[in-house]
């Protein structure tokens, strides 16, 4: 089997991540922050160290790293936590349903209003202007993906962050496809809330994710409950991370995520990106010459895109192609990738696209084999 669906979740995971999960179960079984005994304190310290490593990697404060079960969970905490009745929010036309649906649900309840900003590939200025034109007096937040999970297009996050700072608007970034691939510093990029998954480019297990709040950002809570702090009070603590982490956290998963982050740091973002980019470039060069294959990206330049390839085979839907490729031992993804806006923009809302996404483990030999079989499928 050759796995090329790493934009959904990375596979395989590093051996160090697998080892850490076993160690997590065996050695860190206490409930962190809940009891004063040795096992609880040992687990608490381990979680604290991972929280600190994540904060350092993304330029945040340790206590402002909030663990969640995935990026969707993190985005829901951010969006629902920042918006109040009467507020307006702007999202990009590349957003995932994890952004669109919470906003749509809030707007249906007549609580908030929203606008969708058009993005322009390879034209930062036009994209920024597009957001700027939609800002109203009641615009509370802008939410933008760092990189599209459909096209891979990288958005001008630093410039949008500077604009949000100037306009005093909360800037929420979905970095599900960029964390572990691109350099992110929430201070330098003026990101108020960074949301991401732990199981994609950070190589942690599924069921992990987090958000990082920049200094001074305070949200309404999505859930309330036990935090292991101020337990006599009936009100939720007002300090982070406790305010946003009610209930027992996924400590074993977080330990795996910590090992994943260490793996990424050791390999380096630059090496990971370069390796995956050259693989995608090779795929684009080859499939671009296949008669029966339609490609949608003609400007696949370094640092304009994260390493994702999209295409279609004429005469069959993307899901039919995925099924044929699956029978031959290849794991790629078809359909809409939970991003209907991006597909409407691309003109692929009916058939979807085949998405091919490598990881740092994908070898050139695997890609050559894939391309050989892909050519045969496209010829039929």
């Amino acid at each position: 089997m050759i796995y090329l669906d790493n934009a959904a979740t990375t596979f395989p995971k590093p051996q160090s991540v697998a080892n850490s999960l076993v160690r997590g179960i065996k050695c860190f079984g206490g409930n962190p922050g809940r009891s004063g005994h040795l096992l609880s304190l040992r687990t608490s310290e381990k979680i604290y160290n991972i929280r600190e490593n994540i904060a350092n990697f993304f330029g945040g404060q340790t206590e402002n790293v909030i663990f969640t079960s995935n990026c969707t969970h993190a985005l829901n905490i951010a969006i629902k936590g920042i918006l109040n009745k009467g507020d307006h929010i702007i999202l990009s036309d590349l957003e995932h349903n994890s952004v669109i649906r919470p906003i749509f649900a809030m707007s249906k309840d007549n609580n908030i209003t929203y606008d969708i900003a058009k993005t322009f590939k390879s034209n930062k200025e036009e994209t920024i202007l597009s957001f700027k034109k939609l800002i109203k007096a009641n615009t509370k937040a802008i939410v933008c993906t760092h990189a599209s999970n459909v096209t891979g297009a990288i958005m001008p996050i630093k410039e949008l962050g500077a604009m949000c700072k100037e306009k005093n608007i909360t800037f929420i970034v979905d970095s599900a496809q960029s964390a572990g691939v691109l350099d992110i510093n929430i201070k330098d990029m003026n990101i108020d809330i960074l949301c991401t998954a732990g199981h994609k480019g950070l190589y942690g297990p599924t069921g992990t994710g987090f958000l990082i709040l920049n200094d001074g950002v305070k949200l309404n809570t999505l859930i309330e409950g036990g935090t292991g702090s101020l337990s006599v009070d009936l009100t939720q603590p007002d300090f982070s991370p406790d305010r946003y982490e009610s209930g027992t956290i996924n400590s074993v998963g977080i330990i795996g995520l910590g090992a994943g982050l260490e793996f990424v740091k050791k390999l380096s973002l630059n090496r990971i990106y370069e390796h995956e980019f050259q693989i995608c470039n090779k795929i684009y060069q080859q499939i671009g010459n296949m008669n029966n294959v339609k490609i949608y990206i003609n400007d696949f330049n370094k640092y304009s895109y994260v390493p994702i390839v999209i295409c279609n085979i004429n005469g069959i839907t993307s899901n039919q192609a995925v099924s044929i490729l699956s029978d031959k031992g290849y794991c790629v993804r078809g359909g809409l990738h939970c991003s209907p806006l991006a597909h409407k923009k691309l003109g692929t809302i009916d058939e979807g696209v085949i998405r091919i996404s490598p990881s740092c483990f994908t070898s050139n030999a695997e890609i050559m084999q894939f391309l050989k079989d892909f050519r045969l499928v496209a010829k039929k």
Partner: protein, 74 residues
């Protein structure tokens, strides 16, 4: 100078560890402990048990914005 052995009580374990990591270079014998029931007041809390000059300790922590719930001399 205010020498002695103290409990530094923090609202949450995250701040307790953060403070511990800052103080441990100057006060290597400090220890994280559950706050004694008589001092914990509003429920679960964790404390750093530390020996030294409280004025100096608080001076270090003041620069870090770490909130302290209470300090108690033993």
């Amino acid at each position: 100078m205010f020498m002695g052995e103290f409990y530094l009580i923090f609202p949450t374990l995250t701040f307790t560890y953060k403070a511990r990591n800052i103080l441990k270079y100057r006060f290597p014998r400090l220890k994280i402990v559950p706050t004694p029931k008589s001092l914990s007041g509003s429920g679960c809390k964790y404390a750093i048990l530390i020996k030294g000059d409280l004025t100096q300790i608080l001076g270090i922590l003041e620069k870090t914005n770490i909130p302290i719930s209470n300090t108690v001399q033993i």
